[in-house]
Amino acid sequence: MQIYLPIAEVSVNVFLLLGMGGGVGFLSGLFGVGGGFLMTPLLIFIGIPSPIAVATEANQIVASSVSGVLAHWRRGNVDFLMGTMLLIGGVIGSSVGVWLFTYLKSLGQIDLVIKLSYVIFLGIIGSLMFIESLRSMLKKNSQAAPKRKTHGWTRNLPFKMRFRKSRLYISALLPIGIGFLVGILSAIMGVGGGFVMVPAMIYLLGMPTAVVVGTSLFQIIFVTANVTILQAVNNHAVDVVLALTLLVGAVIGAQFGVRAGAKLHGEQLRILLALMVIGVCVKIGFDLVVQPDELYSLGVGGH
């Protein structure tokens, strides 16, 4: 059964979309990640124009992070103050990101920048995760919690705040800055940015792991909402029909993913996630290096 997407202006099999939503939803439930970094490349791969893939995925992530936050909120795992600081930076960063996106699109370089960002960030995060989880798998006994230390120079930053839930007393500029950088990435890559945000919160801010995911999801809601609205206004690139179809699959898939995840060991999960991240990175990188079949591409001309 085909469904015509009014903004993307292509006709896609509705079961393919539901299946993609379900598959990525399963993985995101399994690993506790948003799944944007898988869904956006998949959408581009099935022929959705990349600006529409990026903008629509931001819209879909709004939904998945709302339902994710609800679960974490019930368990009291959201640091709202920290989340607010992150989202202040995130909203500013993602606005800059959408502006950059629109500018690069007019230059005809947006596809390249999207792909390069994927290769660079997935490459770095995937390798770090892989090494880290391999190391802790090898010496299982010494399961030390991640070191909670803030770097020397950050202690001297002004605007210190007390974050009770995270048991931290640090400058508000740190979460705002991190939120800003992740916001830019989020806008350009069509991801929530959890895969960058979560490690940054653990290793740079020193937040306890229990509150990291909930807090990250909380701020992702606002950053992706901001990206959705700005993309709708600047690029007319948000396809609600596509977002909702993916959503239905993703919501169901995620429930199965969470259950499957409970049966697997944490370290195994992380190594699998790392391999998947590296896999996506290698695939996109490979496409950039190999000579394409068709060197020419079409774009809509100016006025």
Binding site: Q60, S67, I229, A243, G299, G302
Partner: protein, 251 residues
């Protein structure tokens, strides 16, 4: 010269038609479509229209369907620093978004080259001129070819001439197929009657491709009330997420 002759023939033909016997009436080319509107709905997956008509005499028929024109940029990738990056580009104005052609026989059997060029019959004869005018002839050729090749690959330009079939001696019909990614707008369907290497008559029939129903509503909302649309998209996603959270909590 040939245009002069053909226009003379046309004028003479018209004169005869208006003033002379009923027998001459039959010379008229009559054409119609099974529908003058292609409607894009939620389940749209391409469409097919029937074009039919009568020639009123001997001759060959060529049908050309042109979609709305738009300005199109063609970009070429170059290898820079080990990766393939969009480099040079060329902008073409007045590029038809759709181009299909059908004929009773192989075109070169009855269609003079000058006539094909004049009426832009066949993708080879589409006048695609770069926006900046001048430029290297070879490069322009390459960009133009790439444009047509890409459109063909997308199913928007006809790869080959499809068949116009005769039912008896005077009646003809052909199917016009539109792919799912067909652009919206005003189309023109031109039917040429050619006899003895001369153009006898041209008939034009209008065609509109438009989104209707919810598809049209969403598209209009997104284009003309972009901010409200964006906010609406966020709210609906947030609601769906909340709903999912509530539903699955109870299980």
């Amino acid at each position: 010269m040939r245009t002069l002759i053909s226009s003379l023939t046309l004028t003479v033909g018209l004169l005869f038609n208006t003033s002379l016997s009923l027998a001459e009436e039959r010379e008229h080319l009559v054409v119609d479509l099974s529908a003058h509107q292609v409607e894009i709905t939620a389940g749209f997956n391409g469409a097919e229209l029937l074009l039919f008509g009568a020639t009123g005499g001997k001759g060959d028929v060529v049908v050309v369907v042109r979609g709305p024109t738009e300005s199109t940029i063609v970009r070429r990738k170059d290898k820079k620093g080990g990766i393939w990056v969009n480099g040079e580009n060329m902008r073409f104005d007045n590029v038809p978004g759709f181009y299909a052609i059908a004929a009773t026989r192989k075109l070169d059997a009855f269609l003079p080259w000058e006539l094909a060029k004049d009426k832009e019959i066949g993708t080879d004869f589409l006048t695609l001129v770069p926006h900046n005018g001048k430029g290297d002839a070879v490069a322009t050729r390459n960009f133009r070819d790439a444009l047509i090749r890409t459109k063909k690959k997308a199913g928007l330009y006809a790869n080959e001439v499809s068949e116009v079939s005769f039912l008896g001696n005077l009646l003809f019909r052909t199917d016009i197929k539109f792919p799912a990614n067909v652009p919206v707008g005003k189309y023109s369907v031109d039917v040429y009657l050619i006899r003895g290497l001369e153009l006898v008559e041209i008939k034009n029939t209008p065609l509109v491709v438009k989104k209707i129903g919810i598809e049209a509503g969403i598209f209009y909302f997104a284009k003309h009330h972009a901010l409200a649309y964006g906010i609406f998209a966020v709210l609906i996603a947030a609601f769906a997420g909340w709903l999912a959270g509530v539903i699955f909590k109870k299980k």
